[in-house]
């Protein structure tokens, strides 16, 4: 349920509606928009008695949100949510690129990749300090030491950092160091972790589970939002299919579908989707062309020696080429959208 307020509703009117919602035993989520404020309502088991809200001053309309995802729904908020992290912003119309190695291996390696990707135009740094690995015997990441290395790379480059939190035990420590917390594909339905992320003051990068539907993906984001954290960036990273030439199959259609269903920014991870270096550039181009707000790409100075996912990491020169190509596509789309807008055909 969504209460849409008048364009010139006063703050006290908004407060009064929120209080009434609380009195009814429900949760109010005020969502400020460019034109007007809307108030999302969650927590209802049955139909809400809208009569108690409809006549209140400042209320323009009450909309029933039919889909099971509520706060993430575009019906709740028509404008794009823009998630700003340092100099990077997602959802503002440009292409924002997060780059770095799969795992932080050592300081020298990480710094060298960080400086290179910055030079090519990356807006944020990625890196795994806690790695969720299929085998208990595989390299599990450097832990806090890895986060410290990333923090030093932030100091040197001025770029914000994102790293994965794999469980509630280590969440606090990841939260302390990073500018954005990643929830990985394997944890997309780890509901206690999602709730913890929902209580964090830091934005969340939520990856799609390898076999989850778009609805399940948005419901996972809903878990985070229902706890009060509205700064979420969704990431399509390929789903499991029978095709065995690539590690996963990039679900390119999920990008326009998500952009239609939700106001949250959507980025694409061509590295995990393909698992193959030679496909990262074409999939990156396709993602941006399909409307993605950004990319997260694995880059390594020496992919052959990487401790994890070397086969899907771009070399630094390849990343540089990718960034140039992406720049051209982003520009073309902007110009095209501008023209369509002028012509009134949008």
């Amino acid at each position: 349920m969504l209460v849409v307020m008048h364009k010139n509703a006063r703050p006290e009117e908004i407060d009064r509606v929120c209080n009434r919602i609380k009195e009814m035993g429900l949760t109010a989520h005020p969502i400020p928009g460019a034109q007007r404020v809307a108030i999302g309502i969650t927590g209802n088991k049955e139909m809400i008695d809208t009569n108690r809200l409809a006549g209140m001053s400042g209320v323009l309309d009450i909309i029933h949100v039919t889909q099971p995802f509520k706060l993430t729904n575009r019906e709740m908020k028509a404008e794009n949510t823009i998630v700003t992290i340092g100099k990077a912003d997602f959802g503002a119309g440009g292409t924002t690129v997060i780059a770095g190695p799969c795992a932080v291996e050592n300081e020298e390696q990480y710094m060298s990749v960080a400086l290179s990707v910055k030079k090519s135009g990356a807006a944020m740094l990625r890196g795994g300090a806690y790695k969720p690995r299929t085998s208990p015997y595989a390299f599990q990441g450097l832990g806090e030491k890895g986060l410290q290395i990333m923090a030093r790379a932030r100091e040197q480059t001025g770029l914000a950092i994102v790293s994965e939190a794999v469980d509630t035990d280590t969440f606090d420590i990841v939260e302390e160091y990073v500018d954005m917390i990643q929830i990985g594909a394997r944890n997309m339905q780890n509901y206690s972790l999602l709730r913890r992320a929902g209580r964090s003051p830091k934005p969340v990068l939520l990856k799609r589970g390898i076999s989850s539907t778009i609805k399940e993906f948005l419901l996972a984001a809903e878990y985070i939002m229902s706890e009060g954290n509205y700064r979420i960036v969704l990431c399509e990273r390929g789903i499991r299919t029978f095709s065995d030439y690539t590690r996963f199959t990039l679900d390119i259609s999920s990008i326009p579908e998500l952009k239609k269903l939700t106001h949250l920014p959507v980025i694409s991870d061509p590295s995990h989707a393909s698992g193959r270096r030679d496909m990262v550039i074409p999939l990156s181009r396709a993602s941006i062309a399909a409307g993605a707000d950004g990319l997260i790409v694995e880059v390594h100075t020496d992919p052959e020696q990487a401790l994890s996912d070397g086969a899907q990491s771009l070399t630094v020169p390849m990343f540089d080429i990718m960034m140039q190509e992406i720049g051209i596509i982003t520009q073309t789309i902007k110009e095209y959208n501008g023209k369509m807008h002028e012509g009134g055909n949008a």
């Binding site: 690995r133 299929t134 208990p136 469980d167 509630t168 035990d169 339905q189 509901y191 609805k215």
Partner: protein, 338 residues
Amino acid sequence: MIITMSVNAERKDIQNVKSKIEQLGYATKLFQGEKKTVIHVIGVTEREKLIKAVESMPGVENLVPILRPFKMASREFHPENTVISVNGKKIGNEDIIVIAGPCAVESEENYLEISDLVKSAGAKFLRGGAFKPRSSPYSFQGLGEKGLEIMARARERTGLSIVTEVVSEVDVPLVYKYADVFQIGARNMQNFQLLKTVGRFDKPVMLKRGMSATIEEWLMSAEYILAEGNPNVLLCERGIRTYERYTRNTLDISAVPVVDDLSHLPVIVDPSHASGDSKYVRSLAKAAIAAGADGLMIEVHTDPSRALSDGKQSLQPDAFMTLMDELRRVAQAIGRRL
């Protein structure tokens, strides 16, 4: 890696080999046979280095590397079937076990009624969700500890053992107090912290297959539990996600013989979640037993249309009773008991 010591290896030879392996950073486990001692080396990452260091040491007879990525879960590591004992009931021998009950514990009255019925039909274990992992944050999330208390009362009354899901590592100590067997659900099959946590407790774990997990990934998840020291892992095939839409999931019946070949761990089947439709539960349950499963987990509800979750796939008590009779005959035909 499995290292077999020769018949006349002395105690100090065994100790030396053990120390050498530990120096290389691996854990060991000793198995004292009638004549020979076998040393299991866990978590080998540099096989060649280990072989070189150990092969010519006094007392070493031979070294068998386990080539599969799952070690302790593999048949090579443990050729005989693992038989798990829960309150005197065995899982993994010729007996076939049935775990039955509602999807979620809803109320005491309703739960006790179902428990009595499934007991009279011959089930040995009760299922029931107290902590429910639901796709939507607004769906019924289970009764929590109150649900566990109700299950414990049903155990007292019926003598059946209880299997219930734990969805977060922070809840493990609480669920441990009540459950006889922990369930790790499909969505948490790769929640590694949860796997490690239940691996440190001394109650058996039923590990459901993730809905898009390969058999290898499933066994690797079992390995996480085994590597922490809990040897009692029971696997549960519950259908995988495919493009087919007439059933909720697609039961991967071949997983049963494949797991039996690759691993010593017992494997059971959940035909309720696999099909998502009570109409098909009967056929899938019979097929699972015929394929060699060690048991079944079946959802039963006295009033499926009013169930708070998964009503559509729950059997009514009389249908469950009939099914149990049929299953007994299938079990008999393949030389097993139910």
